[in-house]
Point group: C2
Chain length 499, copies 2
């Protein structure tokens, strides 16, 4: 469908004003509609944006299901008292809740409800019932549901920070800490497989420092990805929750000696809405979106080019070509009343990986022209050479090119010197590695410069556990001085400006 | 996973106490969990229930997508003012809204929000932007999202009437009324294909009388299905909305003469959560659920039966059989620590269409035993005869048997006599056809007996349009007297007690 503002195209250059470019791209390419002022933070998602979101959800869900996760659904609204119960035990749930005060017949509720800010306090009271004994473990589930935060008006930014946001929460219940640690590793593998392998999205996996972990977690691992403006953004987290929540919500199992034990829990949250926003930001260019082929609702769009006298011939040939592309997500754009140029422009904006051009000359030569969205490179392919293998090869190649291009822009550097940190970050370096004393005090000092300690890197050098990574980071810091206070460094830590 | 109360099995007979049987079946078979008293009306859905719900959503979504519907997402919360705007134009939106009064930092909202009670007022302000000219039409979208009603405490019943309910809303925007009528017919075809063909669910399609139509509709068609207790329940609706909403929300298009026109709209809402409840009610028996094969998350469950000395042999053979069943949704239940009898019971409760038993004797005879969930009929199949065609045949046959069994229980009758109506309905007849004057006054009189006028039947005799159906119904009523007031009958109408 058309869109009143869409046809104007992107009028801002990404390099010149990233933030306005982002607003235009997300709106004009049909990812999100924020024109209803009264609905700030609660957006509408037109078909194209919704199709991409669903496609991303499916990527994650499939990998989770392959690893024995099952889907569940739990309520959208929950008693505020329950959130407070969680707070008693765990301290500090976000106070940004949407409060529901009135119910049937306009009557004031005795126990007000909240729109769920996150899944733990909604799901775990059910886990109390659903888990009985050791045979039920591991219990692995996921829920694909929006959550809600009452964000500050001026903090709202489509897809990246909204009042209603889409994510998948995968939660597991385990026998012991060893199994929980193993699950954390599995979550990371899933994220790596999809983000790097399918979404062409570089990221760094960091263990957050103690003062920045999720308050109910033993430890928090997070996926940080680069933004064109030099900041990084967290697009997902994996937590080892230990027994903090199982104690708060009484999630126990009977072991094989008939003893009751508290379960160990993990949670994994890829922020699918946020990842979509980041994809637009990282891969997009001055013509609009560029979608990685595994995500794109349409991978190839065929645009026949003809005048009245060649219409029949070109259409017939294009249909023959379409038949050869049928294993892929294909759109045959034979809409009347639009010029080929208009169609080129529309599908370029929407980020379709390959355009297939077919004109009268191509019919004569028995060929089609494949135009890559990334660099508009044209590949002429004879119709007899169009095979699934060739096309799959082109899609895979495109994903790799996109990843490599994005990775080159992910600027990571290191320094031992406080002033250098600030200089590098001001110059657009995303992550700077520093020797660090690992104290909250030094973290606060960095915060004054709006720089945040992101944590230590995980699994960059073939370590097998989070503990090994911590040891390696400590070893690497040995003998060095903290880049902030000059005292003895305890770890090598990464710092960044965050979105 | 196990469930503390699940293992006890169903202890109530369906014939003896339908309502308590229904509660047990939905809870113990893992469709819904209502044990959290504070969460009344906002339920948790364990993996099995969620998998079935998702499977049903997918059935509808696929058929909609085949007919060019695209997915969209619109906000969960909307300003109450917007609902009131709709009311101004259309009168009488349900006042049962959940009211959100507080947002960021606990601050009272200047413009309170509501959890969406239905899609129109949330979606159509976006349609205003998304539709520009005649080339954009038909615009066909769907949204798979829960909606919310602040139901009376005592009206709440898991799946059938809840505060958070799952449905799919398919909305279309059309050039004119002719196209809207055609769309209504298409929606009905989709519903028929899925409900009758895949869910084995009999229903009658009725056009609601004027006083019982959706307030913003030109006319309302609804799908009524039988309950074991003699009532009927509405499991979906299709509305021709005319231009009522497009005028209220300013949804216009520019025609090919460059003139602005109000669009015609339709909406179609299969209540997937409610349909699931009805499926449990209609097909289930004293052992639990019976799932139609197209819906079942598991179509065949293999349960190997062995003692220690035959374990290896049976398992190897069962794996061979599993390989022959791999085109189907298959579970190989080789869990340790559970007896075959326990497993039989669990999968019977959960409604898996076929159990595949394999014991040492079957290995010797190179065969498996397929046990149908519907009647426990055993079919012995030699391993060489297990083909996709044979298995698909068994699944199709089972669906047909389920439909035929359910249809036999759908009691439809007719009478010209007022006292007979009540007698028949008290005796458990679901729908009674009567000659009817088609006035609200007579409808009110029936209501005193808790009987409701459901409307006239659509498309039972090869008619092509709703208008033709109305004509046929009027012809059939000619010369007859209204069964309620004795005055001239205008139509043949169906009446029923409703859930």
């Amino acid at each position: 469908m058309a869109d009143k503002i869409q046809t104007q195209g992107i009028t801002i250059k990404k390099e010149e004003n990233f933030s306005e470019w982002y607003e235009q791209v997300t709106m004009k390419c049909g990812l999100v509609d924020k024109r209803l002022e009264y609905s700030r933070g609660f957006y509408g998602y037109p078909p194209w944006g919704t199709m991409i979101l669903r496609s991303m959800e499916t990527l994650f869900e499939k990998e989770l299901e392959l690893r024995s996760h099952l889907p569940i659904r739990t309520p959208t609204a929950m008693p505020i008292a329950l959130l407070e119960k969680e707070q008693e035990h765990l301290s500090g749930f976000a106070p940004e809740i949407w409060k529901i005060t009135h119910g049937h017949g306009g009557k004031k509720l005795e126990y007000p409800k909240a729109l769920r800010p996150t899944g733990e306090a909604v799901m775990y009271p059910y886990f109390h019932y659903w888990i009985e004994n050791y045979k039920d473990l591991p219990f692995k589930v996921f829920e694909t549901r929006p959550s809600f935060r009452a964000e500050r008006e001026n903090a709202i930014f489509p897809l990246l920070r909204t009042c209603e946001f889409f994510w998948i929460e995968a939660h597991t219940v385990q026998l012991d800490n060893k199994h929980a640690d193993k699950q954390v590793k599995e979550d990371m593998e899933v994220f790596d497989l999809i983000a790097k392998g399918k979404l062409a999205m570089p990221f760094m996996l960091l263990k957050r420092p103690e003062w920045d972990k999720f308050s109910g977690a033993d430890y928090t691992c997070a996926y940080d990805t680069p933004l064109p403006d030099g900041k990084v953004s967290q697009i997902g987290t994996t937590h080892n929750l230990g027994t903090h929540f199982s104690r708060a919500f009484d999630v126990r199992y009977t072991d094989n000696n008939n003893e009751q034990k508290f379960c160990y829990q993990t949670s994994f949250g890829p922020g699918v809405g946020k990842i979509l926003g980041m994809l637009a930001a990282v891969h997009g260019d001055d013509n609009g979106l560029i979608l990685p082929p595994d995500l794109a609702p349409i991978q190839f769009v065929i645009v026949p080019i003809y005048k009245e006298d060649s219409k029949e011939k070109v259409t017939a040939f294009a249909k023959k070509a379409a038949n050869k592309l049928k294993s892929f997500r294909l759109k045959f754009d034979d809409r009347e009343g639009y010029t080929p140029g208009w169609k080129f422009n529309e599908w370029e904006m929407k980020g379709v990986p390959f355009r297939v051009e077919i004109g009268p000359k191509d019919v004569e030569k028995n060929q089609v022209i494949l135009v890559s969205r990334l660099d508009r490179k044209k590949t002429v392919v004879e119709i007899k050479d169009i095979t699934d293998t060739v096309l799959q090869g082109m899609l895979s190649e495109l994903t790799k090119e996109m990843y490599s291009k994005a990775e080159k822009k992910f600027k990571i550097d290191k320094t031992d010197n406080y002033k250098d940190i600030i200089k590098k970050i001001d110059a657009g370096t995303h992550l700077v590695e520093i020797p660090f004393c690992n104290t909250e005090k030094c973290s606060e000092k960095l915060k004054e410069k709006t720089i945040k300690v992101r944590g230590i890197q995980l699994f960059a050098h073939g370590e097998k556990t989070v503990v090994e990574c911590e040891q390696k980071s400590a070893e690497k810091a040995k003998g060095k001085k903290c880049a902030v206070c000059g005292k003895e460094a305890k770890v090598m830590s990464f710092v960044a400006r965050q979105y």
